[in-house]
Every structure is written in C-alpha cells, then in structure tokens.
Symmetry: C2
C-alpha cells in the first residue's frame, strides 16, 4: 500500500487527487487550512464519508513551521503540494499569507520528502504572467509584474519553482513541477471569482454574465478529469523529467465565446465591465512536452465538459 | 535620536549604511548571520570599535521565526533590509536558505515595522534577469528563469518585492524598494566571486584575470558612495514613491574593458573561460525615476572609483 500526501485536499484539484488515489487503494493523507475552501463543502464531506480509513484528513497550514513534524515519520511515496488559494479575489484578500503558503509552505512540504518520495508541486500558467508569446512553452520566461496586485501569487509560485529546482539539484529530492492552466469541473467553488464558475453561478441565479473588457481576451479551459490524468501521469513517471511541464487544454476560446455557450444553455444576459489591473489578455499552453514526456493530451472538449459541470452544480443545489 | 535597524549590517552595503547613520547621530541596530560575510571582517570590527554605543550589533538570522521578537519593542524610524547573500557562488552554495532569507526573512523584517517606520528593502537588478530591453526601466517585467541555478536569488527577490507591495497596500506599512545594480568599492568581500573583486583579487596575487565568454557582456558599475547616497535619499523621502526605484550607474562597460582597466594598473594577463548558465549578457539601469524622484545621479566615474577601491584593498592587505 502506497502512502500519498495531498496538501489542499479539500480544494478543487486536491479533492480529485484524493478520489484518484483512494480508488487505487492507496492510503491518502490530506491537509487543508480552509483558507479558500469551505470547511463543510459538500464534495469534501462526501469524500471523507465514503473513503473510510483510506483517507485521513487533518486541518493544517503548510506554512506553519511545525507542519513538517506531522509527516516526518510517514514513509510517503507521493506528495502532491496543491495547497494555495488560486483565484485572484481569494488570494488578494490574504496576499502575504498567499506568498508564505507558496514559499515557506512549499519548503515545509519539500522537507517531509525522503530520498524515494516523488513530490508533484502545483505550479501555474500564472508564472507566464501576461505573455507576449503564445502558446507558452515551458522555456518561456514570462511577463510578470513583481510589484502589483497579482504578484503575491505569481511571484510566490515562481519562487516555489526555484525551491523545487534547488531541492532536486542541491538536496536530491525528486521534485516535479506541473504548470496548471485554467481548469474547470465538479468541486469548484462557485464563489471563487473565476470565469467559468462566475458565469455558472450568475446563470443559475438568473443574473447577467459579467464580461470584463470586450471579452476578446482568450483562455484555454481544461476539464478537470483530463488535468488529473496529466498530473497523475507525471507522478507515476519512472524518472524526474527535469523540467516543469505544462498541463492544460490548448483549445483557445475568448471569454465572450464562453459567455455565449453559457448563455445558450441558460438564456442569460451579458454585462460588460472594465478589465482589472494585470489581467492577462491571453493564456494558452504549448503541450508538446506533456505529449512527449507523459503521452498526455486532453480528451474532453468544452462542449462536453461545460454541460457536465453545470449538471454537477445543479445536482449540488438540489441536494442542499 | 532616531532608531535605525540595518539587516545584513556586516556586509558590503549594510556596513556603509551603518557608517552613514552613525555619522548622523542615529542609534543603529545591526544584525547579520554571517552567511556571506566573515565574522571577523576587518571593516566590521573597525566599525563596531569606533561606533561605541551608537551601533548595537547582534548575530541573528532574519528568516528565523523568532526574529521579529528582537525588535518588536523598539520604535524604529528606518529599517534597511539588506540581509542576503548576493553573489552567485555564495547564494548558489545555500540556495534554499537564500530564497527563505528573501521571502520569510523579508516578511519577518516587514513585521517589525510600525505605522511610521520607513522600510527600505534592497531589491536588485537581478529581478530583470537577462533583459531584452536596455537600459531597464522599473516598468520592465524582466526575463528571469524561475527554474535554474540563479532562480533562488532572482525569484526570491521578486517575491520579496511582492511582499513589500502587499505590506504597503494591504497593511499600510511604508515599504520602499530600491533595485540595486552592480556596485563596487571598499568593504566588498574579495572572495565573493563578483567581477570587480575577482579582478582585483586576481591582480593583487599576480594571477591572470578570468574573463567569461568573450567579455563583450556589459555591466554598469556604481561606486558605493554614490549608491549609499541614493539609498539614503530614498529612506529620507517624505512620501512613499509607490514604485521600485533603480539605483545604479548607467555608464556601461564591457567586462573586457573593465579587465583592461585593472590590467593597466597591475599589468595582469587575461584568461578566457566559458560563460556560466543564465549569466546576463547586459544590465544597465534607466535612472530617470531616481533623477526625478530622488534628485539623484551618480558622480564617481569608474576611473576614479576603481583606483580608490584598489587603494582600500592594498591598505587592508598591509594592515593584516
């Protein structure tokens, strides 16, 4: 039986990783400090209940200097470091804590790894900032403002990559980096302020869909099942690839196109607002490395994934 | 009497800041963990001896969670956060500690500031990485590799800028950022692996001067007295400028030209070696903002500052 630690296990991606490894028969340890997820979120309560002793959850903050003590004695096979608020309104409400979670937290998590532990750290397309190259390959160095309202997250995540580099190259820890692009699907927080959930939440309560700027900024949207398949493939890879790997869906849509898809399901109105500071105008993964190294590419189109996601939220609402 | 805290006070720039504020009649508190300076460095022993009770030095690590307790009760007027190894061989020998000094250390230092404390944080031209814009204005977002041998320092310093932004904009702390370009002069560590000291150290022991690549990469070299004048002007500014400010000398020289100047004084040979990974090929400050906001520009040319620096090291050697 393998021992798997997942930080941020109550969150959107963390909870899917829990399900994946519980289904595989692994012993899963999860921690979360609920900084950006609800303590009693329906999906997480359900996972805890149905997993029995295959999933041991505790409330903990990875940036606490005492954190490493919790897991020092457990022979961990895989560690997923997925703890961090990831939506701008959430991380901007606790910016210093966000930077510390990225940096002190990642250092603490790396410090519980042993020689044979694989650590998969959740990096992000935000390390590319507002890119002037598209799609973004892993070698692109990004266009990030170090002194602005998004810096706490973007620069924290960049510094966390540096820590992974040094834990691998200086301390011999098998740290692996996945740069995650926009993802959507079940277990998202409807109130986290990201575009897919914003639209669904607004549509479900009959409000107009808020489109920032003229809606011509593009995003690529990856369905969560595809993403988890890519991340777990990285964790199971026999060798450390020695490079960060983009995982995301390269099919670009404008925000306007996404709004129109949601509109076509719910019949919502659109509401245009000014573009926020430092909001990236374009973001699209170059997934050549993921294809080559992980044999991975996304399979679920937005036209399949979006209705599945909406179905999930309707079910949730009806069981409240 | 003002209370001034200087972190990294045993180091090159920190020690000059101590001298500046002791001369002004301020009460200066200094800390250093000697991670990149010698405990018994001649210049620091001399400063401690000559400053009497105007300079209270203690050995401390700013990244230690207990650090803030040391200064919580002191009504600090100015804090200079200058603690961090800054030369590649030094920070690459302790990369994780370097990132933690930049991030956890800066957070700890910011946390001792009160409402009226001015905090001047030492950022660096390294936030621009290997720039594709020259000279670099403060608005340039840089070209930094987040996953490489220089990332621990470059990304740590970028994340520290983000912390300064959030302590100012979220917590109301008067944090100010100076982006320091290459500086040289007395109190440098002859063994810190930077080009000016490398050349002087090699010349003084009669070795050939090591030139990496073809020596056509440029640097701008600022004499330390000029730099300290710029940094203290930022500290004394009545209002927070709300932007990082470059301080450095925009007169560019190639490494080859610098080597030839040292050669002309010592008659040394040159020795060409391959260029290290991620070594920036160009680095030159746009100092328009420093001129406008601080009324500052450098006054000491390389032809004046280089002989003064060499004179200092010769004196040091003769008094050993």
């Amino acid at each position: 039986m393998r021992h798997v630690l997942i930080t941020g296990s109550a969150g959107f991606l963390g909870s899917h990783l829990v399900l994946h490894h519980v289904a595989k028969g692994d012993r899963v340890y999860g921690v979360d400090n609920y900084s950006s997820s609800k303590p009693l979120a329906q999906h997480h309560r359900k996972i805890i209940k149905e997993s029995g002793d295959k999933y041991l959850f505790s409330v903990a903050d990875i940036s606490n200097p005492e954190f490493p003590r919790l897991f020092k004695e457990i022979p961990l096979d895989i560690v997923y470091n997925f703890a961090c608020p990831a939506s701008p309104p959430r991380y901007q409400s606790i910016p210093v804590e966000t930077t510390m979670t990225c940096v002190a937290g990642t250092r603490n998590v790396l410090s519980v790894a042993r020689y044979k532990t694989v650590v998969v750290h959740a990096s992000t397309s935000e390390v590319y900032g507002d890119p002037n190259v598209s799609p973004q390959p892993e070698s692109y160095r990004g266009c990030v403002n170090p002194y602005g309202p998004r810096s706490c997250y973007d620069e924290g995540k960049r510094a966390a990559e540096a820590l992974c580099y040094d834990y691998r190259n200086k301390h011999g820890i098998d740290a692996r980096l996945v740069r995650i692009f926009n993802t959507y699907g079940p277990h998202m927080d409807l109130e986290d302020g990201r575009v897919v959930t914003n639209f669904i939440a607004q549509a479900m309560r009959g409000s107009p869909l808020t489109v920032y700027g003229d809606g011509s900024q593009t995003r690529s949207f990856c369905y969560v099942d595809d993403l988890i398949r890519g991340i777990t493939a990285l964790a199971e890879l026999p060798e450390n690839p020695g490079t960060p790997i983009n995982v995301g869906n390269p099919n670009e849509f404008t925000i306007k196109q996404l709004a129109l898809k949601v509109q076509s399901i719910f019949g919502s109105q659109l509401d245009n607002r000014p573009l926020p500071v430092d909001d990236p105008l374009q973001r699209c993964p170059d997934i050549s490395l993921a294809k080559k190294i992980l044999g991975w590419e996304p399979r679920v189109s937005l036209d399949e994934g979006l209705p599945r996601t909406i179905e999930y939220f309707k079910d949730m609402q009806s069981t409240l």
